[in-house]
Symmetry: C5
């Protein structure tokens, strides 16, 4: 069940807090980027490992450390040493089967969310766990894959466009979350198009393949729900939290983010309703087709079986069958047959079997 | 999925607060009407754009600015400058995929609701986002389409009938909301009539077209729910709010409006129950028809197949078949056939297959 | 959809508080009865209209004004003038599509409940809106129909039996509500009997008519729910309310009434569960019948089609068919046929198709 | 609907508080037992009626009055006089359609619960209303039937085993409730066995009788739920209540009782889930059988119909049919037939129709 | 119903607090292990019975008593004497049908949870009740089976690895609970694999066996839910509790445990959704197959029945049938037959019956 659960059995029996990566798609290369910026300037370094704490952490700059690829436990351990991350936080980061959540550890907030990827091969929706640690003037973001999803935010920071550079670490964390939620809308639009296709297919020509696609979409919806429903709680907690780490100016943006999450949830529920309805329609349409097939069979059989019987009667070899001698016997038999089939056709017309489809 | 989601993907990656219209049905012409009124007089001007703030905003008059068509971002920007609307408010107005909501920005309340239109081509229910900004003595209303839905309120204000002119801006906002909710009842009545038609069709002659209509109605119900359920929360918040923008005298009217919204919701849920029941009936009726068809086939086949067999036996060409020589052989064979079919008919009558339908 | 919604579209666009009767079954004659009573005496007058306020309203007497028929707006207007009823109260009274509710207007409580009538023609459950205004020492009750449902209470008051005459206006209002809830039990018993009939019919001989009756009962249940669920909230609010209009002595009776409403709701939910189960049984029973029909067809066809084939083989006209010349050819053919059909019957017995039904 | 509702229509229109027994299974004989006991001694008297208050009610003894059979209104009236029971309490006792509930009347608590009986004839689950009045040092218990369900408690009191005699009236009331809840487990075990039987029947040989039994079990579950769900609230209220009638020492026992009720509810919900699943399986199994029957028919028909056609062709009486003259014509025809049927069988094998069932 | 309910009927009528083991799988051998440890040292003794209180209970050591096998009531009684366990606690321990719960008895916390075992013979999920008593510096754990599930914790304590030895009794209790919850993930992974297998089977070749496996999995899910849902409440109560028995340092671990329980619940609900969807697919796939079978039958019958009729006509023995004399009569008949079957095939192609499957 690769899609629904990660292998956690390897951890059963180990003491709590043991650091083991339990995901199944480790990034090929680990990439560590460390950015220091404030309204005035922006510096960035790229490394392959994270071994030593970045210097020059002063209150005038925001530090953003981003890891693509979390399977190298050593990186995480030195990160944990630098920023005093609790062992349970480190364990959760390595365990990509967490629910989205936010936890307040006093000095920092620990946030887990899910990035979603709609892949073609194998077809379906895949989740990537993204962990964010928000401190006084630093943000640490950790991604499972090696493809950097946060590039648009980094570009905005670099060119200093928008309000992003002048704001604090909390605004950066918000921007990262906002990017992920915006991506949900892209996923939803794509799923919406697939659903629209399916609806047309359902009306035009439903096949077992249609059923299979409905089933796969339903699974995607289950994955989506699992990722988004808890996110609602996360954003709501961030918004209400009195933590000094989140400034009032960021609060309005978090409220807006909350609205977006609710919209995503609304759309998911709408899609679920539609998919449930499609299954009913699929079944009804199967029944309709069976009815139609059976009508054709019944009409043909009901018309020809009596005729064949009549022909059978006059195919008997009895010595004494007066009708066989009649000069008009053959034509009379044909006439009787015609009358019988006419009667049947009138009966079917009365039943409305002919009017509807032909 | 034009009906369920607007294209928001174009916004993914952009910084929050960027103003882009993401709807899919921009109004052809933009129409801006600015009305100043109090209990004594009423002035109104019509413009094509909104470029400069209306003068003469004094506490003795209420100003009502109405925009039909929101896709021209410039109008919204100057409006925002005049009334100090928060960038997120402007973004929400341009984004017609919002849920109905109310937000308190201190100086003004920002309300989003949905107008519903039941169209013939393409058939179905369409939503139009209506944004209302309620300030100390001004109301701004923004509609997506170019057809002005608030005309009845404007007429009442013009002729000064009812209590509308003497009341404050909050009463005007209430009147606009009331108009929209009243329109929901019109939509519900129309849907109710369609459901009634469908029920008769279902009893008289259910076809795949009936199924399609049930399906379409279900979709309309989903859209209705999405628009009305959050509205309940909106009106309830307005009613409970201690905001100084809403006077006590208006509160009773908001309570009444709340009752109306609950009634709309009640009716929606009732219709949903009925539609769900109709699908069951449709399926049962398909099964009934299949049963009936199969009974006809079975009766015909069961009567004639044995007869045809008997005829086949005496059609064999064996040299030594004594019955063929009997003088009454033919008549005996016919008699046996008659007895067999009589026996079958009696069996069917005992089973009750003939009594029910024929 | 006469049953589920009243025509409210005529009110769309009118200013709030406009008085228009929007029901569809106006009473033929309006009857106004005004009763003054206390523990000692009881006076009653009957009128055709309500034009002037009843005199002699003193604290020592309770005044009970009852209107049968509310479509004459003038009656309501003078009533509103006498007792200072809010325009929205008057509008709600005339609008028979309200949900049951209670509203506290300080000087009086405004209560809306639904009376239910089970009619034969057109068959089904119909609601009648009953409005009750409870003041310091007066009660106003307004019924949509001309048949007076409150007669038993009036008779008790007249003869002074029970505790009714000695108690206050709040007890009178309770007595009216109690009467209506008691009537729900009568309706439920009747519906229960119908359900019992249906269950027997379902076991004995399910037909499309049965399905139709189940469907109609489901609709009745929906109407019942819509009337009774909000009533629960109404009675609960009355019971908890600190309004000085309701005395402590009446509170215990309201608690009892609340219990009765809960019992009604319990029974409605039970009936709904049973009806949902009946539909499943109906469908299963259709499938069962189809199976049985198909078994009969299959058995007949499977036995006779091979036999007919054998007969057909020996009905061929080839010149060289040695079996035809055999003296025992005919009897051998009959024997083979007998063996084939015996084999088939044994096969069916093994499959258990014969054992179950025959 | 004897099972789901008692006849209450006879009470409609009567003033509240009128005493009429509305149950349908009055006990044959009424039996009144009055027991006085404390840790030291135990006295008991049996009577046929309850006419006068038991003497010697002193604080050092607990008095337990038990009535089997409540249809004689006079007994209840004198009981009410002795212990000052409110008229509404007396009415509820006589009205065996009450929901389980607890009410605090200051001097005493009034408790209504349901005893359940699983009967064979008519088969099904029947409820018996049991009312308990708990006062300072007395308990009154009233049962609808004449079979005394509280005998085990009486025996324990008599022999003075366990802690029962030394405790107060509240412990006695608890013991009675505990007995009833324990009986629910007996009922559940019996129903669980029936469900297990049904599941085996469903796998081995599902018939319409199975369906009927599932349906009946579902009804029993509905009755169980109606009796047990409100009981949860009752016990929870008793446990939380600050009433001085319940001592702290009894509280732990009530908590335990509450756990038991939750377990009963858990099991009911589990059974409901299982029963719902069984209906799905029943329907699937019907579809499976239909498929199997249709495959048999189709195979036979598809093999023999073409063969019969070939035989028919050579049974035609045309003058000029060269094949008929061929010396090997007959054998060639037989060969063609064999090949056709072989082809059909190969086609069915490819389709997998033969591999699965035969 | 061995799986869903334990036999409790033997306890009905007995006084509350009677000690009787009501489980159905008593352990073969009872094994009592008593461990004393602190950060410095670790002592352990193994016994067959628990008769006397362990000596040397001082605050500097933690005592952990573990019982495998609880059916010997004497062990429990002496345990209860030593640690002053309430009779109801002892009763609950012996009654393996309890819901998971936590109860605060002041001096100790009493926790009940469920261990799950996935067995092969009889196939299915089985629960084992585990009771944990957490005191000031002791933990008592009681298991139903004789296989010790807590061995990994014991090994960790022995070798003193991790933080376990230095922490208090509350951490030990947490470690035991954590072990059980970790085991749920192992169970879920195994069930996930079974579901994945089933899905492939469903697509490739659905048979009644598939249905049976779906049904069995659904039952397992019901058992899982019953065990895990209440556990959530248990852990949440432990986490929020102000009991001095749980130290602040353990609280973070309990929070982590709570997250794990939520993840288990999430996965259970996901599996339930998937299983529900699989049943729908199974039914659709049955309908699809029936449709396909019926199409084959209908095509064969519809093509050959008219042909057979034509052959039958020219098999009649009338004296005067001119076509029989025609020299090209036979070939004309064959041609007509070919044309008829061609027409039928074209008709089927138009209907799309041939294009889809063949």
């Amino acid at each position: 069940m690769a899609k629904f659960m990660k292998k956690r059995s390897q951890k059963a029996g180990l003491p709590p807090g043991t650091l083991v990566y339990t995901g199944d798609r480790p990034a090929k290369d680990v990439e560590v980027s460390v950015a220091h910026y404030n309204a005035q300037d922006y510096k960035e370094t790229l490394q392959k490992t994270f071994r030593e704490c970045p210097l020059g952490l002063d209150a005038s700059h925001i530090t953003w450390i981003n890891l693509n690829g979390i399977h190298q436990v050593e990186n995480l351990e030195s990160l944990g040493d630098c920023y005093h991350l609790h062992p349970l936080v480190q364990e959760d980061i390595l365990n990509p089967d967490q629910r989205p959540k936010v936890e307040d550890y006093g000095d920092y907030l620990f946030i887990i969310v899910k990035m979603l990827h709609l892949k073609e091969k194998p077809e379906g929706l895949f989740t990537e766990q993204v962990s964010i640690v928000l401190g006084e003037n630093f943000v640490i973001s950790l991604q499972e894959n090696d493809k950097d999803i946060f590039d648009p935010v980094r570009q905005r920071l670099k060119i200093g466009k928008g309000r992003s550079r002048g704001e604090g670490a909390d605004y950066l964390a918000y921007a990262l979350l906002d990017l992920i939620v915006d991506h949900y809308f892209v996923i939803l639009e794509r799923l919406g198009e697939i659903i629209e296709d399916l609806e047309e297919e359902l009306v035009a020509n439903p096949t077992p393949v249609t059923l299979n696609r409905i089933h796969r979409l339903k699974r995607d919806m289950i994955i989506l729900r699992k990722s988004v429903w808890p996110l609602r709680e996360v954003v709501s907690q961030l918004e209400r939290r009195e933590s000094s780490l989140i400034k009032d100016s960021t609060n309005l943006f978090l409220k807006d983010l909350y609205d977006h999450v609710i919209q995503v949830i609304d759309n998911i529920e709408t899609f679920r309703d539609i998919l449930a309805g499609m299954l009913d329609i699929y079944l009804s349409s199967l029944s309709n087709r069976l009815n139609e097939v059976m009508k054709v069979l019944t009409m043909i059989a009901t018309i020809f079986i009596p005729l064949t019987f009549i022909a059978g009667v006059y195919g008997m070899n009895f010595k004494h069958m007066p009708e066989l001698e009649w000069p008009w016997g053959y034509y009379s038999a044909l006439l009787v047959m015609a009358l019988v089939s006419l009667g049947m056709i009138l009966y079917f017309r009365k039943k409305g079997w002919l009017g509807q489809k032909g």
